[in-house]
C-alpha cells in the first residue's frame, strides 16, 4: 500500500468508534405498517396480523424499518461517522458504494406500541482490498436498537464496499469467431398443421397435450392415430403444469452458441401422466434431482420464441410448525423460485420505507448500469425470513440473518431460494437451527449466508401446560 493510501486509511480509521446521532422512530411499532410490509413481502404468518392485538408480533426482519428516515428530506447529521468516511473516500476516488454484508440479530419479537431508537456506530474500516468489482475499502457499522425502556431488542451490522471500478478488458473477444446469425437464436420448432394446437397454446400460456377423443389417452409428441384405441379423432387438453422430474442431463460440450450456460435438459412427467422434453430453469444444475416437483413456466429465450419450461415447484406453506426433534442436520429445504416483479421490488422498497430512486425509478436504475429497478436489501431480508419461516411453520422465529450481498435482483429475473440445515442445538430450552442460505438469480448468487431459527421444543410446550 502506498504512503498516500496508508495516510487515507489512518484518517478513515480515526472515526472508528464514533457514534451517529441516535434516530428515534417516527411511529411506534404499529399494525398498518406491519400489514403493509406483509402485503409487499408476501408473508402470511397469522401471528403478524391475524391474532388479538396484544399477541401480535412484528416480523423480525422489519427491525430496521421502524427507524428508517422515509421519504422526507434528510437532515445532514454532522456526527454521522459513516458520512464522514464516505466523504473522505469519495475525495480519494473511491466513489462507488455497494452493500456487501448485512447481519441482523433479533433478540425477541417486537410488540405493538414499542418505540425504537437506533444508534449507529462505525466499527471498522478494512485494509485496501481488491475484489471482482475493483479495489477499495469495506466500511462496517453497527446499529443497536433499543425500545423506550432502553432494552436492547436487536442489532444490525452493515458492511459496504467503497471502490474504484476495475477497468474491463476486452481481451480475447477479438480472437473468437463470430457466431453465424442463425445460431445466435435457438432453433425454431418445425411446426406442422397437426401440431399447431400445441404452439397456439404456448402463445396463450397453456401447455396443451394431445388427447384421444375416443379413449382419452394422452400423447406427446402428438400422433396422427391413437396408439391405444386406434381412433383418428384427436383433440387436446390443457395440462395443469404440475410435474415431477423423470430424468435430466446437463449438456456442457460441444458449445451451443444459442444457449445460456449452464442449462439443464429434462424429461418431465406431467401430473396427467405423459412426459415431455424441456429445460429445467430457475435452479442451478447441482440443485436438480430426479423426482423433484416442478411447475410450468413459459419462457421466451428469444423475443419471438415462447417455450414451455419447468422450474422447481413453489413449496406449500407449513401451517403447523415442524417438530424440532425431527429436524436433521444436512437436510435441505425445497427450492423456492420467486419472480422479481416491479410490484415486488417497488412494493418491497416502499414497505421497508426505502425511497432510494434506484428501487422505484427505471431511469435511475439505468443510470446505475442496470436494465430495470432492483430489490433493496431490506426486501431481500424479508423474503429470506419468509422463506425459512414458511418452511419451519408459524411458531418458529427468525433470530438472525447474516448474509453476503451479490448479484442484484433486477426486475424480470427470478430469484430462487435454497437452504440446508447445518446445525441444530438446544439453547435455554428452545431449539436453535442454523441454515445455510443461498438466493440465486440469472446473474449468480444474489445472497449467500446463514439464517438462525428458534423452534419451540417439547419441553417448552410442556412447561406452558
Amino acid at each position: 500500500m502506498s504512503n498516500q493510501e496508508q495516510q487515507l486509511l489512518q484518517t478513515l480509521r480515526a472515526h472508528v468508534g464514533e457514534q451517529a446521532t441516535a434516530v428515534v422512530a417516527r411511529d411506534p411499532v404499529n399494525l398498518p405498517t406491519i400489514r403493509n410490509w406483509c402485503d409487499a413481502i408476501g408473508d402470511t404468518n397469522p401471528v403478524y396480523t391475524e391474532v388479538d392485538e396484544s399477541d401480535i408480533e412484528a416480523p423480525a426482519a422489519m427491525l430496521d424499518v421502524w427507524t428508517m428516515a422515509g421519504n422526507i428530506p434528510r437532515s445532514y447529521d454532522p456526527n454521522d461517522p459513516r458520512n464522514k468516511v464516505f466523504a473522505l473516500l469519495n475525495k480519494a476516488g473511491y466513489r462507488t458504494v455497494v452493500g456487501a454484508n448485512t447481519k441482523e440479530i433479533y433478540c425477541r419479537p417486537l410488540r405493538l406500541g414499542e418505540l425504537l431508537t437506533g444508534k449507529m456506530t462505525l466499527i471498522d474500516v478494512s485494509d485496501l482490498k481488491t475484489t471482482g468489482l475493483g479495489c477499495g475499502y469495506f466500511v462496517s457499522t453497527l446499529t443497536e436498537f433499543t425500545n423506550q425502556q432502553g432494552e436492547l431488542v436487536g442489532s444490525w451490522e452493515f458492511r459496504t464496499f467503497s471502490f474504484k471500478p476495475r477497468e474491463r478488458s476486452s481481451k480475447g473477444s477479438k480472437d473468437r469467431q463470430p457466431v453465424p446469425e442463425h445460431l445466435q437464436v435457438r432453433p425454431r420448432p418445425g411446426k406442422m398443421q397437426e401440431t399447431e394446437f400445441f404452439w397456439d397454446g404456448c402463445d396463450q400460456g397453456e401447455l396443451r397435450i394431445q388427447q384421444c377423443n375416443g379413449c382419452e389417452r394422452l400423447a406427446h409428441p402428438p400422433v396422427v392415430r391413437c396408439p391405444e384405441c386406434g381412433s383418428y379423432d384427436l383433440g387436446h387438453r390443457a395440462a395443469s403444469g404440475k410435474a415431477t422430474l423423470h430424468a435430466f442431463v446437463e449438456p456442457v460440450h460441444p458449445p451451443m452458441p444459442f444457449m445460456q450456460y449452464p442449462y439443464i435438459c429434462g424429461v418431465v412427467e406431467l401430473e396427467e401422466g405423459t412426459r415431455l422434453i424441456t429445460n429445467i430453469v430457475h435452479c442451478a444444475p447441482e440443485q436438480v434431482e430426479i423426482g423433484m416437483p416442478l411447475e410450468l413456466v413459459f419462457q421466451q429465450p428469444d423475443p419471438d420464441l415462447t417455450l414451455p419450461m419447468f422450474r422447481p415447484a413453489v413449496p406449500s406453506i407449513n401451517k403447523t410448525t415442524l417438530n424440532f426433534d425431527d429436524l436433521q442436520e444436512g437436510q435441505t429445504l425445497p427450492l423456492y423460485p420467486i419472480d422479481v416483479t416491479t410490484n415486488l421490488v417497488v412494493g418491497g422498497a416502499i414497505a421497508t420505507r426505502d425511497f432510494e430512486d434506484i428501487h422505484h425509478e427505471v431511469a435511475a436504475a439505468k443510470r446505475a448500469g442496470l436494465k430495470d429497478v432492483f430489490m433493496n436489501v431490506l426486501t431481500t431480508n424479508g423474503i429470506c425470513a419468509r422463506y425459512v419461516s414458511e418452511w419451519a411453520g408459524p411458531d418458529a422465529r427468525v433470530k438472525e440473518i447474516d448474509i453476503r450481498l451479490g448479484a442484484p435482483n433486477v426486475v424480470g429475473d427470478t430469484m430462487t431460494l435454497s437452504a440446508t440445515l447445518v446445525s441444530k442445538q438446544r439453547v435455554d430450552g428452545k431449539g436453535r437451527v442454523t441454515l445455510n442460505l443461498r438466493v440465486a438469480n440469472s446473474m449468480g448468487n444474489h445472497v449467500t449466508g446463514t439464517v438462525t431459527l428458534e423452534f419451540p421444543t417439547q419441553a417448552a410446550a410442556g412447561g406452558s401446560l
Binding site: K191, A247, V249, P254, I277
Partner: protein
C-alpha cells in the same frame, strides 16, 4: 427349429478402408471405390458378377439407385439406402427370393465435417419438440444412462470400464482412427472432460471418415469361390419411432432391441450363452451395459456389475467391440452400422490382427442403434451354416 431361408445366405467378403478423423485427399467416392474393389478382389469375382447393389455416398449425395451405376454394370436389384444390419437383411431377403445372387452393400463418407472433426452438435435439426431445448445426440442418450444409474445404482466406473475396453481394442487395429494410441484406463475416461452428464468425452463415439463394403451371396455360390463364408444365423429389427424425437427414457425405451434379439435367437436356436463375440453398437459407453441387459446376458440392473466382472475384455467370456467400434475405429456417416457386421464377420473369419483375435470364436452378435435412436437391430452370425 424351423428352417429359415436366411440360413442359406453367407457374407463372403469384407473390406474396410483406413478410418481417420480426416482422410486428407479422400472423398466418399474415392473411399467407396476402394472398398468395392477390395471386396471384389477378396472374393475373386468379376464386377459383372454383382447383380444387386446397395451403396450410398452421403456427401456426394448418390443414392443406391444412382450409385448402382458406379460399376458400369446393370444390376438387377437395388436396395434402399438404410445402411447396416437392416441393409444386410434386405439384401439377404432379395437373394433368398431370387431377385439377386451377388449383392454389394457399402458406404463411405468423407468431407462432411470439414477439418474440425468435433462431434457434429446439431445432428437432428428438424425435431419439433426437442430441438429448441439445446439437446443433441449425446444428451439424449445420457437421459437413459442417468435414469439407469438412478434406478440401479450403476456407477460411472462401469461406463468408464466399457469405454476403456473398447478404445484399447481400437488402438490395436491398424485401420482404426485411434490406431497406435496408448492404452487407457477407466480413470482416464473419468478424467476426460464432461460432455453431457454422465458422459465424459471418452464415453462418447468419435466422428471420422472412412468407407467399407461387403458382399453377400448364397451359401451354394460361396462354396464355388475361394472365400471364408460367414453365415447369417438369425436377425431381427426393433423400430419404435422417429429417432431423437421422444423423451428417450429408460423405462420406455431402455429395452429397445429386445424384440430384435428374441427373433434372432429364435432363428438361430441360440441364447446369449452361445455368443462368443459381442460387436455391439457403441455410440456411448452406457449402451453396451444396456444391451447386455436387454439381450439377456445378465439381469435387468446388473449390467454395470457385469461389465466390471471381467466379461468384456478380449480374454473375457463376452468380448465387446473388438475392432474399437464407434469410439475408436470409425464413425463415418451410416457406414459405421455396416462396420458392426463387418467386425463380426472378420472376427469369425479370422481376418483381424492377432492382438485382437478372440480364439475359437464361432458365433458373433452384431447390433445397430440404441435407445435414443429409438431403433435397435440385431444379427447373429456364425462360422458354420445352420443345417
Amino acid at each position: 427349429m424351423p428352417r429359415n431361408s436366411l440360413h442359406d445366405i453367407a457374407i463372403i467378403a469384407t473390406h474396410n478402408t483406413r478410418q481417420a478423423r480426416r482422410l486428407e485427399g479422400e472423398n466418399d467416392m474415392s473411399l467407396i471405390m476402394e472398398a468395392i474393389r477390395g471386396v471384389i478382389a477378396q472374393a475373386g469375382i468379376k464386377a459383372t458378377d454383382i447383380d444387386g447393389v446397395n451403396v450410398n455416398t452421403p456427401v456426394w449425395g448418390l443414392s443406391p439407385r444412382e450409385a448402382s451405376q458406379l460399376l458400369g454394370t446393370q444390376p438387377r436389384w437395388v436396395g434402399n439406402d438404410f445402411m447396416g444390419i437392416a441393409a444386410v437383411m434386405e439384401a439377404a431377403g432379395a437373394i433368398a427370393t431370387g431377385q439377386a445372387e451377388m449383392v454389394l452393400v457399402g458406404s463411405a463418407q468423407a468431407g462432411e465435417y470439414g477439418g474440425g472433426g468435433a462431434v457434429a452438435p446439431w445432428t437432428r435439426p428438424t425435431h419439433e419438440f426437442v430441438e429448441s431445448y439445446g439437446l443433441y445426440t449425446a444428451a439424449e442418450f445420457a437421459f437413459s444412462a442417468q435414469r439407469h444409474m438412478h434406478l440401479y445404482g450403476t456407477k460411472q466406473e462401469a461406463l468408464a470400464e466399457v469405454a476403456a475396453t473398447v478404445r484399447n481394442n481400437g488402438a490395436r487395429h491398424p485401420l482404426a482412427s485411434c490406431y497406435g494410441k496408448d492404452p487407457i484406463t477407466a480413470d482416464d475416461v473419468l478424467a476426460s472432460r464432461m460432455v453431457a452428464s454422465p458422459f465424459h468425452l471418452l464415453d462418447c463415439c468419435l466422428t471420422s471418415e472412412g468407407g467399407a463394403a461387403l458382399l453377400i451371396t448364397t451359401a451354394e455360390r460361396a462354396r464355388d469361390l475361394d472365400v471364408d463364408p460367414i453365415y447369417i444365423l438369425g436377425a431381427g429389427t426393433d423400430r419404435q419411432g422417429l429417432s431423437y424425437t421422444r423423451a428417450p427414457v429408460w423405462d420406455t425405451y431402455g429395452a429397445i432391441g429386445q424384440r430384435a434379439a428374441k427373433r434372432a435367437y429364435g432363428q438361430a436356436g441360440m441364447g446369449p450363452g452361445d455368443i462368443d463375440v459381442c460387436e455391439f453398437y457403441d455410440p456411448f459407453s452406457f449402451e453396451i451395459i444396456r444391451q447386455f441387459e436387454t439381450f439377456g446376458f445378465c439381469d435387468l440392473g446388473e449390467g454395470g456389475d457385469f461389465v466390471m466382472d471381467g466379461n468384456i475384455g478380449l480374454d473375457g467370456k463376452f468380448p465387446i467391440v473388438t475392432n474399437g467400434g464407434l469410439m475408436s475405429f470409425g464413425h463415418a456417416g451410416t457406414v459405421q452400422m455396416l462396420q458392426k457386421v463387418i467386425a463380426a464377420v472378420e472376427q469369425l473369419a479370422g481376418r483381424v490382427p492377432d492382438a485382437l483375435k478372440v480364439p475359437g470364436a464361432e458365433v458373433a452378435m452384431a447390433t445397430n442403434g440404441g435407445s435414443a435412436a429409438l431403433f435397435c437391430d440385431v444379427m447373429i452370425l456364425g462360422r458354420e451354416q445352420l443345417q
